[in-house]
């Protein structure tokens, strides 16, 4: 009796080991002012944001604070702006494309936030936006939102991040 429970306990605690590394302090201004619209500088891999539950949850907060939710809706279903949870991308769905959309804006109404948001926050937003269409690892996706219930995207799109080419338009 004791041996199986000990085994179970060991297994349970082992499950807790593979948690992503969290960094609670933000990068210094130098780091924050990395070249706009470039993939992150060396030494700061993209996974720092995309594989990081805390970055995604910060992105969720900023999605509301910086009014992304105003146009793209709280759950990313769209409204004044296009939906972000359907896996279709007008300007490309690779992390660098989404980053460029936020930083530089797009001609049909997406404003440029580049000069007003530090780069690390832009990447946190990118991480959250990608999570909306189910493109991040399950364990870093945001949990149940506290706001009025929205629910998960219905179809899990491929776990592989899309390439830089935009997806073909639906017929």
């Amino acid at each position: 009796m004791r041996a199986p429970s000990l085994l179970l306990l060991a297994l349970l605690s082992a499950a807790g080991c593979r948690r992503e590394r969290r960094s609670f302090s933000e990068p210094s201004p130098l780091q924050a002012r990395v070249e706009r619209a470039e993939p992150l500088p060396s030494g700061e891999p993209l996974s720092h944001f995309l594989d990081n539950a805390w970055a995604v949850s910060e992105g969720a907060r900023l999605f509301g604070w910086y009014n992304c939710a105003g146009c793209h809706s709280l759950g990313g279903g769209g409204g004044m702006g296009p939906p972000l949870r359907d896996g279709a991308w007008r300007y490309g769905g690779a992390p660098a494309d989404v980053h460029r959309s936020i930083v530089e804006g797009r001609p049909n109404g997406m404003p440029a936030f580049g000069p007003r948001i530090p780069d690390y926050q832009t990447w946190q937003l990118v991480a959250y936006v990608l999570s909306l269409s189910g493109r991040l690892r399950l364990d870093v996706e945001p949990g149940r939102p506290e706001a009025i219930a929205i629910g998960k995207p219905p179809v899990m799109v491929s776990k592989k991040l899309p390439s830089a080419e935009p997806l073909p338009e639906a017929p």
Partner: protein, 613 residues
Amino acid sequence: MQASSRAAETLFIAATLGLLVFGCHRGPADAEPPTGRVVLIGGRLAPASGVEDGEWRKVAKDDANTRFSGLATITPGNVATLRVAWTFKTGIARGHEAAPLVVGSTMYVVTPFPNRVHAFDLKAPNGTPKWTYEAHPEARAQGVACCDVVNRGAAYDDGRVFFNTLDDHTIALDAATGRELWNTKLGEVARGETMTMAPLVVKGRVLVGNSGGELGVRGWLTALDARTGEIAWRAYSTGPDADVLIGAAFKPYYAGDRGVDLGVHSWPPERWKIGGGTVWGFVSYDPELDLLYYGTANPGPWNNEQRVGDNKWTSGIFARRPADGSAVWFYQWSPHDLYDYDGVNESVLADADTPNGPRKLLFHADRNGYLYVLDRANGQVLSATQFGHVTTSRGVDLTTGRLNYVAEKQPHVGQTVHDICPGSPGAKDWQPMAFSPKTALLYIPHNNLCQDEEGMQANYIAGTPFVGEAIKMRPGPGGNRGVFSAWDPLGAREVWHIDEDLPVWSGALVTGSNLVFYGTMDGTFKAVDAKTGALLWHAELDSGVVGQPITYRGPDGKQYVAVFSGVGGWAGAVVPAKLDVTDPTAALGFVNAMRDLPQRTRAGGTLYVFTLP
């Protein structure tokens, strides 16, 4: 032992009963009748203006906003044979909310963004295009249009066609050639302003207003000189009296609207600058009283806790002089609006011949769910009657003019309030009603929607939304999302109604032969009997109908009916904008109620013209 357990049982039952009784006494019953009272029983109604000319020179047919045409060639007897005369594809797959205009032998239509104007020669067969004007509005204006990139129509006066572009230009064209005569920029896209409304021309002044109440825009109505395009005056909906054009002539009927600079002091400091009150509905005009009437939209942000006060002069109606814009009276439908109940819905002007003498009336079906009858000379509310399902208020106090809100339905930050009826699009949104002097009835296309709502902090960033509410809409009682009803404004009662599965987002049209036309969002265009509501004819169009039907006499003497198909607008944006139906809060919560729409219609944009064979 036995006795004591029985005593305990009795005590328990008594306590339970006591609690139940206690629970019964919570608040007054919801079923209280509205306090609206009718004062004009036995009145006879006539429209405030209009002699039948067979044309359709203004979006609402006349200055009184009746959408009534005296044409009577198409009758309840022969309407069943109505068939398509010609069609025109605009090539734009967005919400087509505009009304065509017919002046002489030319028809003018303005499309949604990119706001093309087409003129058709009606003497030539099948709508031969006469000219086309390209407005080339800025593409980024699409990003600040709250509720699809619609346009509600053009105006015609003295050989000129006037219309607004989404990027805040008012443009005058030569009606004969389509040449641009003047082009005046009136607003800033970067601040969230757009223009979607149909202008009205009164005494050589083009009256236009802005949209953007969801983006912290400050609302205004502007009068432009029809010859030069110069701004004659601009009346803001918020701010100091000088900006609102409130002066010595301002005599509101109710005490709550009197005072100095209420447009400043009924707001938290400086918040009137981003307080909404946009003017995107239809304007009415009474030549005898020489007064303009128009509604002001919701205050911003939607989150009411961020704007304590009555938020003058939003969600109300102004009466102004067309010459200098000076305000004569104001009445606030929804003081300190809690639910995005814009006050912009059109006002129909009619005169009643009552036992106590003639009365000049104004009918207005508001988003807050009440059909108001006002004395349009002084702004007194004569009656206010619920015409839809309302849980957010209990009637209008006719002595103070104030709407009595239900405290439990007030949204708060961090709390979800359920069963808010009507929802934010109101019991009736912009979709204009029609009024027939023959039947003395109003024909009201409206919604039956409720919503759950949670307040959240709205953060103002210029040019981005300023809302602060998470909303999920759903069908109201009965499960049907729309209603088309005939309403007796003097008797303050419904005469007949048709339940529609989808919100009725199209305008209404009524003719001298007692035919009423309207369309549904799944693309059915209908003719019903104005007296009974019986369905007499219908046609399936290629896309949902959110436009305003019109009728006219062609150069060949035949009567025609014209309407745009092309689903869109706030209710229909889910189709052309391909919104994700799995997010209930998409399109400010409207998508939750319209999840089935993409399966029931597709995006399009076609002008349909019908006539008898």
